[in-house]
Amino acid sequence: MNTSPPFNAGELIIALAKGKLLAPALRWLQAAGYVFSDDELRSRKLMLTAAAGGMRAILVKADDVPIYVEYGIADLGIVGKDTLQESAAEVFEPLDLGFGRCKIAVAGWPAPTEKKLHLRSVVRVGTKYPQIARAYFDRIGVQAEIIALQGSVELSVLTGLADVIVDIVETGATLRENGLIVYQEILTSSARLIVNKASHKLKLAAIDRLLHMVNPS
């Protein structure tokens, strides 16, 4: 049963990623005047309503945020640039929120392996970001065999499944512990506010108010 609310130009629907982006995203919304009560957050509801109205939030997996926004089920979303780029979703991204910073990098064994990679006919790449990895190796003209993995990406190099990995690097501790090094950073990521293309026109006033509240220009 479709329970989507009727169109209301004054009410914004925002998709938020469950996980580590949720707390800073809620703080950012609070600064903009949209407060979700502790009772709402502690409940197991997947659709929350802001205390003073004007916004509803849906809580989804990070990878699903761009999908809900691209289809227009949510007008807005807060999602990492890495996830956004991987999704290739056609949405507007008017604001860099600055939190959730991380880097995506190519990493692997130190020399001599590193020195020999450019002479390979094909480089095998273990990654959770197949689109970003594919685009990077296409840009530099290297034939890459992308091996899409769900987790523990470093293991793919340690076991010989892949020659290199493309993955998030925060402190680099995991890489160091396993004897791997960063070859090249390929993307700096932070949380973005994304906006559905039609919502941007149909709820222009409410969206502009939100953007200007936090980013007066």
């Binding site: 973005r192 293309k197 953007l211």
Partner: protein, 338 residues
Amino acid sequence: MMFSSPENPTLRLPPGVKDFFFAEARQRRDLEQRLKDTLAAAGFDEIITPTLEYSDVFLLAGKTGNGRNSLDEKVYRFLDRDGNLLALRADFTAQIARIAASRFAGLPAPIRLFYSGKVFRAEPHHVGRSREKWQIGFEILGADGLAADAEAVISILAGLAALEIKHVRLAIGHIGYFNGIMAQAGITGETLHNLKYLVERKDAAGLAQAAQEFSLPAAVRTALTRLPNLHGGETILVEARALAQNDISQQAVARLEALLPLIQKHPHAGNVFFDLSEVEGWGYYTGIMLRAFAAGVGEEVGAGGRYDELISRFGANLPAVGFSFDLDLLVAAIQKKA
């Protein structure tokens, strides 16, 4: 059981195409008729174009100055038995440009045409985007003036009104505004392509970063980072004038300023606003950019604009403006309303 199909691999459909039957087919024919009647009543005449063309038509139509051809990238091509490279119709306007150049010389201008039919585009199907789209559109050929721009806007509003879609918006931009900023800064080729993509996504952070990376002058950087926010009513045009002090951008703004009085008395003019960051479209647009949106549909339900130099690529000098509605997305908007 919900589906009673027998299991048989030949029952499958390629991604991005659909069967319509019974009520869904009737609804499409009904909306098609309403749009055709509205356009016919406004003085447009029907044109029926072939489904197959030589591939060159779309290659020529989609050409840009920056080496990219987003239309040609989407064309379905194949060889016929004589070894000619053929294409499925990917764009009506490209075909109409070919026809206008070869057949319409000497006809009294403006020539008002409408069409209804399918275009075929190799879209990525990760979000279920259609590869076969039913478009209903119109073109006004041989008129470069404001009156034709206004007539296009009013025809779109009339079409949306005939379909009784309640929450709609028509965004009007002008590609000259962005082009002027690029020309002023001497930006071409791949850099221009990348900046345009960032403007299309209203990616202010990305634009600021790119401005730094390419060491763009401060004035250009300010204009580019502000561009994603240049949307709204008349006041936006004032800011737009101040931000881009080059002739091409100023002329673009002047054109929009002059358009306003011609459309603002229309009963649905409240649905229209300006958006100078509307720069997305095939490579042939030269003037106003038009994009329609409806509540409940995540992408534009129609798009078009002015293309004064397209037909001259085919050999006849006919300025023109046009627009096409996406019938399936209009149906989606109506179903959301119900």
